[in-house]
Symmetry: C2
Subunit: 214 residues, 2 copies
DNA sequence: TGATGATGCGAACCTGTGTTCAATTCAACC
DNA sequence: GGTTGAATTGAACACAGGTTCGCATCATCA
């Protein structure tokens, strides 16, 4: 059976995935070699092929499992659209802050997937986007949201939220709860139904040239 | 002097940059070879080195010129913060829709820059971000914007706006003016000072559990 | 103790990489 | 018309890429 010294079947598999994840996120799929990954886990390159059929499968598995997790982790709660949106936003931020490398890869390495794998990943992503879009559509229908185009609003919100991974650093100025709250605040307002045009405007909000077609 | 047939000194340079731009955007810097670029413009790989010292310089020049353009193209207009924000947002969307490949590269290929080049590009990006942040800070100080954290709001807005390049396709469902208007609408609302909490709420906006710390 | 089989090594294969450079081409100039 | 020199070729270099495979290792089980 498996060796317990000099071999590490039970740990090498997960360690391979972890090393690939870290290196792909840091340097990009195309820029990372199988030999680098192998070195990272203290093994020769050939040994990796006991755990993955090839490099492409390594990338695909990371992305697919990530998206499957993301979808499995969250279901829209019962309730009104604003509550659902809040749940979505907070979960999205929390999930993304927990897995910065996975998220980064899933958004950056799409073009390194072979067409068949790309189709699978794209389908999963659309599924996720559809959940947000459904919330926005329902809220718009009820008049609690004011979104002129639900598809555009969906993409805009997801981009805004996902962007948190580009600047967040562990131990930075803002803690995670604060970040979550701030993003929710912006997301909420961005799709909120306008309050009845306040002729009684807040004091500082004096007239200005909005000069546009909104 | 320069040959006019069989050689193309005046056009090969620009064509090299254009081909590199397109291929880098499509497949990623690391995945594109100098031979592929050369083939794209009908030349042997060796000839490229008459126009660029190396592959890295090709990428760096594209990113640096892009950001320099972006900075040169827009200055905050005189006026109130909301007018400045609208100008920024509309310019950002317009600029990004005009140059999808450049924008894509500038956001995706940062990690393929050698440290010195990375520092230069990062500095230019911070300069651009600082312009938006200044607008938000000024608006917040005047009370016309309600942003709890200007830095976070800056990053959130830029991510939201830049995301347009991930889904926009020429000739798609929405024309550019509409897209611009919709993004401006969302951006404006996301940082807007709350209207005085309307006890006279819009009809459809019935009570709900917001259940959070906002 | 000897056979087994999972685990890993190390070298090799073939292809492709960025880059260099001597040789060639050929419009422009004297 | 011969010379010049920029533009380009095409071959070469040194190395790194993903992947394969025969062989070695060694805990386990009979």
């Amino acid at each position: 059976m498996a060796r317990t010294q000099g071999s590490h079947a039970e740990t090498t598999g997960p360690r391979l995935r972890a090393a690939a994840l870290r290196l792909f996120a840091r340097h990009g799929y195309a820029a990372v070699s199988m030999r680098q990954i192998a070195a990272e886990i203290g093994v020769q390159a050939g040994a990796l092929y006991l755990y993955t059929p090839d490099k492409q499968a390594l990338l695909f598995a990371l992305m697919r499992d990530h998206l499957a997790d993301l979808l499995a982790d969250w279901q829209p709660p019962d309730g009104d659209p604003e509550g659902q949106l809040e749940s979505f936003v907070r979960h999205h931020i929390r999930y993304h802050l927990d897995r910065p490398d996975l998220v980064f890869i899933a958004y950056m390495e799409l073009r390194n997937l072979v067409p068949e794998n790309f189709a699978t990943i794209a389908r999963l992503r659309r599924e996720y986007e559809a959940r947000l879009e459904a919330i926005l559509a329902r809220g718009a229908a009820q008049g609690v949201f004011d979104v002129a185009d639900t598809r555009l609003a969906t993409m805009a919100l997801i981009a805004m939220l996902t962007g948190v991974t580009t600047w967040y650093r562990e131990g930075g100025r803002l803690d995670r709860a604060t970040i979550e709250a701030r993003y929710w605040e912006m997301a909420r307002k961005s799709v909120a139904a306008s309050a009845p045009q306040p002729d009684i405007a807040p004091l500082a909000k004096i007239g200005h040239a909005s000069g546009g077609d909104i």
